[in-house]
């Protein structure tokens, strides 16, 4: 991969990190709040179903993490397993797509 593409991945990783910083903080606060008195499907769905705000939030969260996790794993695979090249990047692209599809399926599951 050329230097320009490497730089782009670095920038995307930092940009997604900044988005995720906000998302994770909201997610942690929501979890600590929501688990008081025990969770239930009814309680979660009453918060999320038909809520455009939560739909936008979780969609942003899922898409940002679908980009962030594979790019992070890319360095780990290179440094710890010595796995470079197109095979690795194809596997990471597949991981990104898996996270995006499963994540959006869950988002639609709580919204619809």
């Amino acid at each position: 991969m050329n230097a320009r593409a490497q730089t782009l991945l670095w920038a995307v990783q930092r940009a997604s990190a900044a988005v995720l910083g906000v998302c994770v903080a909201v997610h942690l606060a929501t979890m600590v709040y929501a688990i008081r008195g025990g969770l239930s499907a009814a309680e979660i769905l009453s918060r999320t179903q038909g809520s455009a705000g939560w739909f936008a939030f979780y969609s942003t969260f899922v898409l940002a993490v679908s980009v962030h996790a594979p790019i992070g794993l890319r360095s780990v695979l290179a440094e710890w397993l010595g796995w470079h090249g197109r095979g690795r990047d194809a596997a990471l692209l597949a991981l990104a797509m898996l996270l995006a599809v499963l994540g959006m399926r869950a988002v639609f599951g709580v919204f619809l």
């Binding site: 930092r14 910083g21 600590v32 239930s40 499907a41 979660i44 996790a69 794993l73 499963l102 399926r105």
Partner: protein
């Protein structure tokens, strides 16, 4: 790159990396479970009964702590890379650890 042994920054980099890997492994399971069970409230509530097992609760707590640690460590990285160097930034690894501890305690209190 991880760094020299025994250095605070090395510890922070290890925690950041390991938590990132474990969170990445957890995410497909998390999404799949939510996507499959929330279609029916009964199925989701059955999953919640399963999560009351002490070992599962402890794992959940561990994931929450790792998420907080990864957030704290990530903010540290962003501060080191994008802000001009200041002496207070030496305390960021400790601040990230303290933040993960606070979130872990807050979550444990609600369990």
């Amino acid at each position: 790159m991880i760094g020299p042994a025994g250095h605070t920054g090395t510890w922070a980099a290890w925690v950041h990396r390991v938590s990132g890997i474990l969170l990445t492994l957890f995410l497909p399971v998390h999404f799949y479970a939510l996507g499959s069970t929330l279609e029916s409230a009964a199925a989701f509530d059955a999953l919640l009964v399963w999560t009351r097992h002490p070992l599962i609760k402890f794992s959940e707590w561990g994931i929450v702590v790792m998420l907080a640690a990864h957030l704290g460590g990530g903010l540290r990285v962003l501060a080191l890379e994008f802000l001009p160097w200041r002496d207070w930034q030496k305390g960021l690894a400790a601040a990230a650890a303290a933040f993960a501890l606070v979130v872990g305690l807050a979550f444990a209190l609600g369990l």
